[in-house]
Symmetry: C2
């Protein structure tokens, strides 16, 4: 099998983003995290900050059908966060159609569910190591780090549920779920590479 | 790290049992599936068939604390399926204390949660391949195989929830969750072996 498109869903502070970046470097394929928002902002004319905030505005009351994707005329009456999600989803599809890449977050696993050659990963870890990473790498104040992380992960779960109708962190939705603490970031990257090499 | 104790939770027909057996053979460590029930029956004097049926008798209304484990005097008033679970849990602890082994099902991940050197796996797969395996390996009639598998997995989830208070199939509860269809049984065994070699 040729190098797949890799989507990564990750708990905050689990090292999922770093794993994705290193995977992309090792496989010499593009990495989309922040770059995806920049592309979506450029394409739509909306400010990048709106995309950043979008996942805080969704509720868990609606399972929004992606059937409207690409239906520009149907977007006029949508709430802004739904419009942003659709724009972002179109960008995800566009970059995925260009070839193998790593995409972090943004329900990319769901957006690309009709495509072949997609591998969906979920990275999680212990709250202690998440706090450590949040403090050292994202400058989160140590005092409230645990609460902060719990809230962010809850928002990610809500955002995922809202747009996909599926449960975030449910093993069934992913090809490979890994607890990054047990073998560390470098070994997790190596293990995912081994997995990719085994795909037939 | 020395060879760990490996617990395997698996969807019916996902190949999880076979993966466990092959892993045990490769690592030259004991494999406990049916053997666990035989040991528990021998130890307790209860018939093996009672253990087989135990997971059909639990409901999802009670999160039973394992704090009573080993408290023989507290067992007298328990329903039979709870007694069987406690006997079985004691057997799981006893075999785990003897050294590395592979244990399939029976909430072994939860029973051994206080032990170091335990790796918890969850194996799942597509309903089509589960039907194929159920028909070819377990002689399940093809006509009703999908319903049958769904019911068995629901029972496993209920049993797990009842005794552990946790969600079966939730990535957070496992070190490694694998979709066995994507790379097949042999490669899944190899990948888990690679993972074990990476444990520090």
């Amino acid at each position: 099998m040729s190098t797949p498109i890799i989507t990564i869903s990750r708990q905050y502070g689990s090292g999922g983003r770093e794993i994705g970046k290193r995977l992309a470097d090792e496989l010499r394929i593009p990495f989309y995290d922040r770059a995806l928002i920049e592309l979506a902002a450029k394409k739509s004319g909306f400010d990048e900050s709106l995309f950043d905030k979008a996942d805080q505005q969704s509720t868990n009351s609606l399972f929004y059908s992606l059937s409207m994707l690409g239906n520009a005329s149907g977007m006029a009456d949508l709430p802004i966060h739904d419009k942003l999600f659709l724009i972002q989803s179109n960008v995800i599809r566009e970059v995925a159609e260009q070839g193998p890449c790593v995409i972090v977050g943004r329900c990319a696993d769901y957006v690309l569910q009709e495509m072949d050659n997609v591998v969906n990963l979920f990275i999680h870890s212990d709250i202690k190591s998440k706090v450590k990473r949040a403090v050292s790498e994202y400058d989160v104040p140590e005092k409230n780090a645990e609460d902060f992380i719990t809230k962010i992960d809850k928002k990610r779960a809500t955002y995922y549920k809202y747009y996909t109708g599926m449960k975030w962190g449910w093993a069934d939705n992913f090809h490979l779920c890994l607890y990054s603490d047990s073998i560390g970031i470098s070994n997790t990257v190596k293990l995912v590479q081994s997995y990719i090499n085994m795909l037939s």
